[in-house]
Symmetry: C5
């Protein structure tokens, strides 16, 4: 995940300026129209088809993926009467999740996290919900919504019999729940790491710990505000979230809170693990140094003794004793054993 | 306790999908019907018996333990008119404790912690309280509710003369209070550990400390929201919690708060103990290294001196002195004593 | 102070069960009846005397100390119509301070901290305040209330001319203010410790620091909720706390807040002192090791040089030089001084 | 950034006293008058021109940069009827961002951060917004507003067709958004530093880390209150922020919140990096010391052995053995290899 | 600053008991009476003069400094009808800043910090504000109010033309702003310290850091509640703080908040500096130990080699080689250079 991760215009640029960021893939627009009886899916609908969709009584979902092209966004904005600042937010990805209530529609920005080759990526999901229609913009490839599209196509579950609010719930639910597989994966990484830290602490653990902490920090920044977004959606908008939909959005809210809970718990676990890692490493180092120093300490006095009898004084009576040499060995062995015993007794060994 | 510990469906699964998680034991359903005069207990009641229970004026407690079978849950859901999302929550254990108010009933999820062979396990308790009936689902073996069942069977205390709200209180009280024996046990572990840390710090303490911290962290995640659940129950539901029941639920609330207080205090005590442990270990290590280094430092100059008189220069007058050898010993003894004294004086020994 | 410190019944016990905890001393009951003119004190009043007290217009204070006997508490509960859960709370000491408003009375639980032989003990004070009467239960020996009893007996100050609310204030004030001598004592201990830490850090400081931190942590847990109790008393109960009593209870509230402030400040000071202690110890250790290592480092090359001339090669011209021996000494002295100078210059000494 | 960074008068100075702080550049006053059709820009307008501006129906922007001169500020204050305390705040820079609602106008103080030669500087922006006119005071050179001036001059975008509230939004937007380039720059510095910390930790990193942390701390102090300022502007002032302007100011608010989010994330990342840096350094040091100590430990026993055979005892049979010398070499080689193997086996090497 | 710093009576003392704490200087009472036209100053006014002051329409300021004498305070309390608890608070200094609204007056306690010989002292300022009169009690020498007295005497600024509310503002402003010179001084100390920490970390820095942290902690405890006091004054008392006075008290509030901001920033900077100091010290120590250990490590193998040729074996062919001695020197020089190179290559030097 990017540390800064925000696209923006230079300060002073007129609001509503749209510009292309990054290379991006190609934009794909799908228009789903359905009610309990009928269902149609139009790939790359024309402006006229879009306007027709606005007029009818069916639920219309304009599903835009791979949003990088200012011109396309601008045209859709004009067709559906979207606020220029909202259009700017769609293109300038890296927004903080938020909800704005405009006269004609509610505008939500959410972050969809997913793992790509072990790295966490964020897709920005922008949703406009008006009466009978929903526009979704996703600056990634939008595969996360594929199960929803399939449910619509197959008519599986209740989705086709319910209105636009149920569709909104379905999409929000996908976005929020997409954190679970990620967090399960991270949870397993953390448990593995914990075992390693307790059993065989290793230098590479430090970097892994740091990267996990960093990822969780950035993930928290990206997901924390979603809790508030859903809360405001429930509190504020009696039309979108009526009595029958309330349990559904409540459920989303509970999941958003639990995601934050999990992230926070993980962060605290990692902090605890860093402490344990550092202590383990320092314990291990201390053990090594202690043993080495003890080896040294035992030989230093012995070396001194042999040094004494290496002196060349003419008058050193011990040198002439018959058993002097063996006596010195005896003294040294006693001394070495004594020192070892003393260290053992003091629990230094 | 599990780090992630949440069962979930892949994002995009239709809401209300029920599926089996884990192997699980067998489901046991008991139907208790009682009022001040009468009492009956039916094991594995039929659907008709359940529907009859809904109709009468007695208090009905449908006590389901070992919930793992989607079909059974689904059938009960249909009989009692429960929301599909709630049924999903019962099976997908690892939910965050919560309370939802539906039209016909209130739905609570609580976590019941208990110790099994030194490890903390969580049972998820799901409660539906409607007019005159209560459904409890427990994904463990439900032994925690055994004293309540006994009180009902024996007609002991006030429980049979009171309504469904008192039954709810009794169950919630059991769930909340089940943390006390656990925390008393943890408290004793912490006090033992504290004594060890202060008196004989040992390498294994580190792992114990870490595991206790981790358990408290996960326990806090599981129990923290229960405080809010009971608070909302008291605030919100004037029907369930009337003036006579309010002191009882207040008492539950106080206990829930105290449980959190205890967990937080324990966590801070463990943090303090980690600091003390690290300092003690480092103090001990410093003592060892200091003594060893001092031993070395005393012998190094002595070894130098004996080295000097081990040189083979032809012209070294001292070597020929009659008492040269004894003089060197004298100098060395004086030097060694002087160094020891200096170290003592500087409080290095 | 006890880490867990809470008495409780096994989960599932019927609410209102009373049982004896601990050995406890003997219960002492005193009934004070007074108004501006009259005063009487009855030791161990009979049930009839208690009931008479309830009826009359004087202020009645039933002052119970040493509460451990379930039978006595139960009888008083029946006489004065107290809630069974409240009676349970009186006996199960270690409650979190709280206030409950019942129909006939307000029920407060407070913690009275005091020092006994250098250790902090908590007495649980339970107060029932009804119209014209106050019941106080103290599970210690109740000496803290002796000055109040004396003021009543002597008729000193305003206490006899005021109602039950003033009596309540007086008792609450004693409980809250009893933290001041304790905190003054702890403050002095902390200042002494601080001086020691800065001037001569010592191993025993670590344990003292840890014990102080632990005591403050437990003290905070015990006293923190009292602030909220008094606040709720002021906010909620317009009858007990009328305009004339408000400044008095406000004063209590300010003191409760200041007690928390002091505890928090002390805790932060101790944390700061731990950092300083650790740094001082490590500085001292570094100093020792540095000097010792420098001594070693100076002698190691010298020992090498003397070793060189201790070699037994037949062809070593230096050995035959007339002043070889003195030359070597010269070189060694120059080297030693040079190394000392280099260390000095690098500020290593 | 300055640690204290606040200009103030000695306590007791009468409120509204204006005095010059610092050397400052020269004051530049520009008066912009415009509506949808007309536009004029007057450099250094006279008092009469200002008063005329107040009277007409066009939007008037009095843009004052380089504010250091008490006399000029005082005259403008009198002309536009500004509160003396507000004038004092303009000159005494280093104010906390705030908003005050006076009868005739709203008064905002904001901080505009920008990078000058790698150092973060703050310009204090003071804004007075009354009916149809806006006064901006900037104690820097005001180049940040240049794009806005250009947009007015060119009539680019919607700015000329909208009222004073849109102008206010434009200026506030510039101030808030000016943090983005700064934070992007800091984010890059942090990522670079992170790579260094993980790959080749170096002593200079410590100072860089500290300076970044310090800058972020001071930046947070300067920008944190801006969130509240904009929130109060939206909540409070229905006249300035009407339904059409609300999305614009909402957008500003979102940006202000995101800026704080980014600062907090950066601060936590830096804290994590300090931990990692310290661990890396200590790991590296441990590696060095371990290897060195092992070298020492291997040679110390060997030196002892050669010392033994350097002794001058007359009766040392080994010395006379034909292969004694080679035997000693053999023993020493075996010993050295054995020790190396033991260290390897214990994973000390 | 004192750690405990609170004067109190033993728990159980009747409320409103007044007693002398500390030696204290002499009490000085000044009565200022003024309106737009007139001004009089009476030193040590009589009771009658005080009562007269209460009756007239001028603004009366009774300015009491050096408050230690219970009798004097009691008499003033009776003359002006002050609450006994408030009088107790005046004498028992070390109160937490607070505001109480009594029927006849508002009662404020504030802390005035000032530097005396490098140490921070707190003066407790107690203010009673009733209709047309203000009583100020200061338990120090009251020099901080001298500029206000001078402004009154000289009739400088608006002070004489405004009512008692403006006088209150003036005094509160002096108290709040008195923290600025202090914090500027502390800010400079911190910047100096920072430079030292980064450039030449030194043992004495530790104590300075600790003392600064401790002072800021106690200062925060003393000043933190003042923010709330002023806020409650603005919110609560529409009479004292009317529309014209609101900007003035708002300004005070902003300053009180900024003071807290500065204290918090300083505390975080000091924490950061402690980390940096510890790292620098440990870096420096590591450098020393590394160099010393390398010196040792190079000479230990050399000493071993010379030891080898110091052995007295009869059969050591090398000893008889013509160039044996020079060969050994060659080997040793190569070895030493090789080791130095290896250390250099591994970046250990």
């Amino acid at each position: 995940m990017e540390t800064f991760g925000k696209r923006y215009h230079p300060p002073g640029t007129p609001p509503g300026t749209l510009s292309r960021h990054g290379a991006g893939g190609e934009t794909c627009i799908r228009l789903f129209e359905y009610d309990a009886e009928q269902f149609s899916e139009i790939l790359s609908p024309s402006v006229t088809q879009c306007q027709a969709a606005l007029g009818n009584t069916k639920v219309d979902w304009l599903d835009v993926t791979g949003v990088y092209d200012p011109a396309a966004v601008n045209q859709l904005g004009e067709t559906f009467g979207l606020h220029p600042l909202a259009l700017e937010d769609i293109l300038n990805s890296g927004q903080r999740p938020k909800i704005d209530f405009h006269e004609q529609y509610a505008f939500l920005i959410l972050n969809l996290p997913h793992l790509v080759e072990g790295e966490i990526l964020l897709e920005q999901i922008s949703l406009f919900v008006g009466e009978g229609h929903l526009l979704s913009f996703c600056n990634g490839d939008g595969t996360a919504f594929e199960p929803v599209r399939e449910r619509l196509r197959q008519g599986f579950g209740r989705i086709r019999t319910r209105g636009v609010s149920y569709l909104l719930y379905t999409l929000v639910d996908v976005v929020i729940d997409s954190a679970y597989p990620l967090l399960e994966d991270l949870g397993e990484q953390i448990e593995d790491l914990e075992e390693q830290v307790l059993e065989k602490p290793d230098k590479r653990i430090l970097n892994t710990l740091h990267e996990l902490k960093r990822d969780l920090l950035l993930l928290r920044r990206a997901l924390w505000p979603q809790r508030e977004v859903i809360n405001r959606l429930i509190q504020h908008d009696a039309e979108l979230v009526d009595a029958t939909m309330r349990p559904y959005f409540s459920d989303c809210y509970d999941h958003a809170v639990q995601v934050i809970d999990l992230i926070e718990t993980y962060r605290e676990m990692l902090s605890g693990m860093l402490d344990i890692y550092l202590s383990s490493v320092s314990n291990r180092m201390n053990d090594i140094m202690r043993v080495l120093t003890i080896v040294g300490t035992i030989f230093i006095p012995l070396t001194f003794i042999v040094g004494v009898y290496g002196m060349n004084f003419e008058n050193m009576p011990e040198l002439k004793w018959q058993n002097g040499y063996y006596g010195v060995w005896g003294i040294m062995i006693v001394l070495a054993i004594g020192m070892l015993a003393a260290f053992k007794w003091r629990k230094w060994l």
